[in-house]
Amino acid sequence: MKVGVVVFPGSNCDHDTYHALKHVCGQEAQFVWHKDSDLRGLDAVVLPGGFAYGDYLRTGAIARFSPVMRAVTEFAGQGGTVLGICNGFQILQEAGLLPGAMLRNRTVKFLSQPVHVRVERDDTAATAGISVGTVLTMPIAHGEGNFYVADDELERLEQAGQVVFRYTTKDGRLSDEANPNGSLHAIAGVCNRERNVVGLMPHPERASEPELGSADGRRILEALVASLVRA
């Protein structure tokens, strides 16, 4: 299984993601430079966290125009598996591959803390095989993670089952205190209609080994790999 980790100028979770995929999950991983426009031979692409292009203009706004994103869009359109983590999620939103946009956190603070998210779907590229209702503990680290879409679009997302993760308490209950950034419907991750493109704000790669305080994120990376084996 060959997984590409895209490197934008300003990515800073690229090496962590590479490490988790290669050394923890035992997959063949390779970096993909943002100027590359060829993803041939890859089974999946991960857009890692960081601050691509310094978050200038808006998070992900400049990165979405880089050559690699044309290739990622084509790859996704052909059913290829794409996972966006944090800034990678924001880039996928700007590129129109995932719905919604991120507003500044409601507290206006950069939040770096562990959170609990509940898995809402077990039929996406990043959650296949993880039972609905499972609560995973992973860290977030973002200033703009306040998920927003217009009301009618939010309704459509819910109906279509495109909400993949929600911020909850440790025992899986929704509560305002458990929603760190003010996201609508406590949304922490979504997928496209076809379920092959998934984005989430928490960092699975930073919670992929017990030494890091949680190995829950590994389940998402393993699910990604498993979905490729099946495909």
Binding site: E94, R104, V108, Y148, A150, D151, G182
Partner: protein, 81 residues
């Protein structure tokens, strides 16, 4: 040379945490008459070799495609000939 100004603002329906924080600060400074603050972005764009009408069309395209995110923002363009 044409010069354009682009104002990008959050849509009215979108909560603006930064504007709210500024508003709260103004109230605590005693500006009790201030009822709301919304923060936005302002761009000055210079274009060469385009008549004003073409320049407007180009800048509107840039504002739509790049300078704003239609999910959360709207924009307004002013062009000087």
């Amino acid at each position: 040379m044409a010069r354009a100004r682009v104002y990008v603002t959050l849509k009215k329906s979108v909560f603006d945490p930064q504007g709210k924080t500024i508003h709260d600060a103004l109230l605590s400074l005693g500006y009790s008459g201030v009822t709301d603050v919304r923060q936005g972005k302002f761009f000055e764009v210079e274009l060469d070799g385009l008549p004003a009408e073409k320049a407007r069309a180009t800048v509107e395209e840039i504002a739509r495609k790049v300078l704003s995110n239609p999910v959360i923002e709207s924009f307004r363009v002013e062009v000087e000939g």
